[in-house]
């Protein structure tokens, strides 16, 4: 009886859980119609501590939680910095060696250091967090946790009390100091040590202090407040100052990244308690911010939840945008308080097929487009413009596209004797060989076949939308293209063959030895699905009678080859950190050589004139003079062809009809606060699209019955009809068989 009761209870619960909710809904019925954004993530984020998080899958969380001083304007293009926590955009103040203030127009060579004084808005408060909780005496409640208290704590929400406090300038300085913390491994420590005054020495000081402190008393917490840093100091409770060596205008862009978001010392102290660290309760797991959202559930195996921060200081939707934004509806919410969405649920979805199907069922609000679902989702118009297919249109799904601020290229290792050359004559010969290959490898075709048209063949390293990029004829790479009928046209293959002959390889054979030219393409190990693209690449080289040998290896060995300069031709890419040409052109600077300097110049390209122009350009303000220098640099690069410029990928995103205010912004990551959801429409559509289909179940049961009934009949007949055939051919009824064992 009790089992029956339990079964009935289970049935009742199941029915209740399904009531009012489509049967295939992965979400609880209680969430139906709520102002929740549903998203998915494939890889769990490694770091949520802003001092370490750098990957896009991490920043999609940290950017909603933390507030650095600056942000990008959501609607304006080209990208424009505006204040976030800062009261206004900081002004760069230049000083010479004697500490004398220099004008803004001063020559970069004269500038000894730059000071950015940043004032933050008053009244900004942190999200509720146990690190701030205090008792009646004003003492911090959870900063000296004993074994007894820790015994019942498994996650942050197990702490019964929370607190908050106002954001201060000290928190920003504290975070800059954390960049040098020996245990935190900030990826930008090396770079920032070159710019923030004293950071390099500070890193060594903290290293020594940590070891000393640990040896002395076993204490793991290193109180950074006891160690001042010359390059970052508090002016008053709402103002701090950063001192930069020389002139580095790109520093403003770094101020829009989570690396420079505030961290309260209380959080650092709280999380450093040994018992908490052992239970995975740390800043990498539970962020503490002032932004519009806070992470309330972090179960990266299944789901992560952002909820509206009750202490958020408030911000308004932008009232200005680009021409056409008003017509597109992007200004409909102008001036309204942000954020619009109450909660964001990110579900772990490792595989693309379930993710895509759940998007089509309305259980995810947006989706990117995998190559296997591209034809189902997108079609090209007669003008070559991408649009959604009719099936998508019927569901009200729309497509948003944007050229990413990134570049995918094929690099030549300039240290290689064949493609890089040795000696003056050898280098010239190799240059012509590289130019010939640049013409032969048809990236228009590559983008069309392998990226479903989602890319723009590149004319140089700088992608569209970044200062320095030139459109149209002005931006044409004359080494590879001709301008024909108002558009770039790849030079004929004969031009490439002529260059190849000049390089000393007429018809693809070495003029000196008569041996065929064999080149090596180093790639990471790929599956069968990439075989076609590698075959295609071989064919491109075959146009010049060059034999391309693909050297496939695992990712670790591939990286090792690149680091040691053992690769010959390789594929690589770069995503912009910030919208400045310096962030792309530095990839070919001599100081960034991969071999020897462990830099980002994977091609190991070195050109003294290019380096000189780069050093001149990097600190300049955007303007005609800077553009002129960039043009010169790009021309040098096109002439030397250390890369096949490849293509700039285009991002395609699909959005349901209930998802509003989506304007692709590749550099700003704190966009969730601008998004708006029509939850009622979503609910209606979900029900419409997901009505359970019962006939297959009924049919299945009928089929089962049709199989079972004859089987039972045969069984019964067999059981009853067992007998021994007599000689006369009659069957003796054996029904009198005994039935006992």
């Amino acid at each position: 009886m009790s089992l029956l009761k339990r079964l009935l209870a289970l049935l009742a619960v199941s029915v209740c859980a399904c009531s009012g909710n489509p049967w295939n809904s992965p979400y609880p019925a209680t969430d139906a119609g709520k102002n929740i954004l549903y998203s998915a993530f494939a890889e769990r984020p490694k770091h949520l501590d802003p001092v370490q998080s750098y990957s896009s899958n991490e920043i999609q969380f940290t950017a909603q939680i933390y507030e650095p001083p600056l942000q990008y304007h959501y609607l304006k293009r080209p990208y424009e910095l505006i204040p976030l926590a800062a009261a206004e955009l900081p002004e760069a103040r230049y000083f010479d060696r004697e500490g004398k203030r220099l004008p803004a127009t001063a020559d970069a060579a004269q500038i000894a250091y730059t000071i950015y004084e940043i004032s933050i808005k008053p009244g900004i408060r942190y999200q509720p967090h146990p690190a701030f909780a205090r008792n009646e005496q004003g003492e911090l409640l959870y900063h000296r946790l004993g074994a007894k208290e820790l015994a019942t704590i498994y996650k942050l929400s197990d702490f019964p009390h929370t607190g908050s406090r106002e954001l201060t300038a000290e928190d920003y300085v504290f975070q800059i100091k954390r960049l040098a913390h020996p245990r935190l491994h900030s990826p930008i420590l090396g770079l920032m040590s070159d710019y923030i005054v004293g950071l390099k020495e500070y890193s060594i000081l903290l290293q020594t202090a940590t070891v000393g402190q640990f040896q002395e008393n076993g204490e793991a917490y290193l109180d950074l407040n006891n160690y001042p840093l010359e390059g970052a100091e508090v002016v008053d409770s709402h103002t701090y100052r950063v001192k930069i060596k020389g002139k580095y205008p790109q520093f403003m862009y770094w101020l829009a990244m989570p690396f420079f978001a505030p961290i309260p010392w209380e959080a650092e102290r709280f999380y450093s308690q040994k018992g908490l660290a052992q239970k995975n309760i740390n800043l990498d797991w539970y962020p503490v911010g002032t932004g519009p959202y806070m992470l309330t559930e972090n179960n990266p195996n299944r789901l992560m939840t952002l909820e509206r921060n009750p202490n958020f200081h408030g911000e308004a939707y932008p009232a200005e945008g680009m021409p056409g934004d008003a017509k597109a509806g992007f200004l409909d919410d102008a001036g309204k308080p942000l954020p619009f969405i109450d909660k964001v649920i990110f579900s772990r979805e490792r595989e693309s097929i379930p993710r895509w199907n759940k998007f089509l069922q309305g259980y995810y609000d947006a989706s990117n487009i995998g190559s296997d679902s591209f034809d189902q989702a997108v079609q090209l118009t007669g003008q070559g413009e991408a649009t959604v297919t009719e099936a998508m249109q019927e569901q009200g799904i729309r497509l948003e596209t944007a050229v990413a601020a990134s570049t995918n290229y094929m690099g030549f290792n300039m240290l290689d004797p064949v493609v890089g050359g040795t000696g003056k004559h050898g280098r010239e010969s190799a240059r012509k060989l590289r130019q010939a290959i640049s013409i032969a490898v048809d990236y228009e075709e590559y983008v069309s076949i392998f990226a479903n048209g989602r890319g723009v063949p590149a004319q140089g390293p700088i992608p569209p939308g970044i200062f320095g990029h030139r459109e149209g004829r002005e931006g044409l790479n004359h080494v590879v293209y001709d301008w024909v009928n108002g558009r770039p046209q790849r030079k004929p293959i004969e031009a490439a063959r002529a260059l190849l002959a000049e390089a000393g390889y007429p018809g693809g054979t070495d003029a000196k030895t008569g041996a065929p030219l064999v080149l090596y393409f180093d790639v990471t190990a790929r599956g069968a699905e990439d075989k076609s693209s590698l075959d295609w690449m071989r064919k491109q080289f075959q146009k010049l009678n060059i034999q391309l040998v693909v050297r496939s290896t695992d990712y670790n060995r591939f990286q090792d080859k690149i680091r040691k300069g053992n690769a010959q031709i390789f594929e690589w890419g770069w995503n912009a950190d910030y919208p400045d040409p310096e962030n792309f052109l530095f990839l070919l600077h001599g100081l960034q050589l991969k071999v020897g300097n462990e830099g980002e110049n994977a091609a190991n390209y070195f050109n003294a004139e290019y380096n000189r122009l780069f050093d001149q350009m990097k600190n300049m303000e955007n303007g005609p003079e800077r553009q002129h220098i960039i043009d010169k640099m790009i021309n040098i690069l096109r002439h030397d062809a250390p890369w096949l410029w490849g293509y700039h990928p285009k991002d395609y995103g699909l959005y349901h009809a209930w998802y509003d205010n989506v304007k692709p912004n590749r550099l700003s990551n704190n966009n969730t606060k601008y998004f708006r959801i029509d939850a009622a429409l979503r609910e209606q559509k979900r029900r419409e699209w997901n009505e359970p289909v019962m006939w297959p179940v009924v049919l299945g049961m009928i089929l089962l019955a049709m199989i079972l009934i004859p089987a039972i009949v045969v069984y019964r007949r067999k059981e009853r009809g067992v007998g021994i055939k007599s000689d006369s051919g009659k069957i003796d009824n054996a029904g009198a068989y005994g039935t006992s064992e």
Binding site: P182, G190, N556, P696
Partner: protein, 325 residues
Amino acid sequence: MLNYIIRRILYAIPILIGVNLITFTLFFVVNTPDDMARMQLGIKRVTPDAIAKWKQERGYDKPLMFNGSEKGIAKFTRTIFFEKSAAMFAFHFGQADDGRDIGREIKTRMMPSLAIALPVFVLGLGVYIVAALIMVFFRATYVDFVGVVLCVALMSISSLFYIIGGQFLISKLWHLVPISGYGEGLNATKFLVLPVIVGVISAAGSNTRWYRTIFLEEMGKDYVRTARAKGLPESIVLFRHVLNNAMIPILTGAVVVIPLLFLGSLLAESFFGIPGLGSYTIDAINSQDFAVVRAMVFLGSLLYIFGLILTDISYTLVDPRIRLQ
């Protein structure tokens, strides 16, 4: 029997050391500690200094298996192999490369894995045995023939097809259960229906055929003829006599996998979004997290050995003639 079990447990120790050694060697043939550091620290702007610090903090700055700079036994103990392996035998799995406690992760993820694997195992065993007995009952008839053809067809299809096909039909077209996901407590039920159905069907072909072969072999034995001669109905002969006598081969295949149910399924958990140990292992392999890979392989070996001991013990329960000595 106690002596036997103690002896088997002692045998397990060298096996576990061997497995650990092989895992360690294979892992570090493919990955170096530098690779692991780069994987954790990211691709952009990683300095050699940061890599060195990462390795030092996690004890990967030592030689792999032999430390020539030390003296005596320390030549072997002050190595990555010894330091990372010794604690594991005390079930201290340590921390993953991202700093999270492996033991706690295993505890948390064990239940979701079990929530799929156990129903698949129990239901599957029942369905396969009954189906095999039915085929045997109708042997040499069209039912048997169709059954064998169906089994071969089911065996020939990739398990990935069952998963994608199941998701397409049951979830996408018929909207009966969610495509993927997981819930806590009773909420998990609706997420488990599809993986369990797919799990049972995908293994039906091979298992049913296997059991059918076992039963057919038994059918030719004297005791079956005797039972029939006594006049027992065929159903009694099959379900009571044949099934009982076929228990040894059934247990050989079934009991050994019981402990392994905790480890989950790599493919199904990934596609159905189940946060179990199978997906944990896949994640660890992808992120080159040696600590987790080593812990999971160790746990797998241990549970397999435990399963073998259980199998031996189960023989004594179903066949009184067997004695463990």
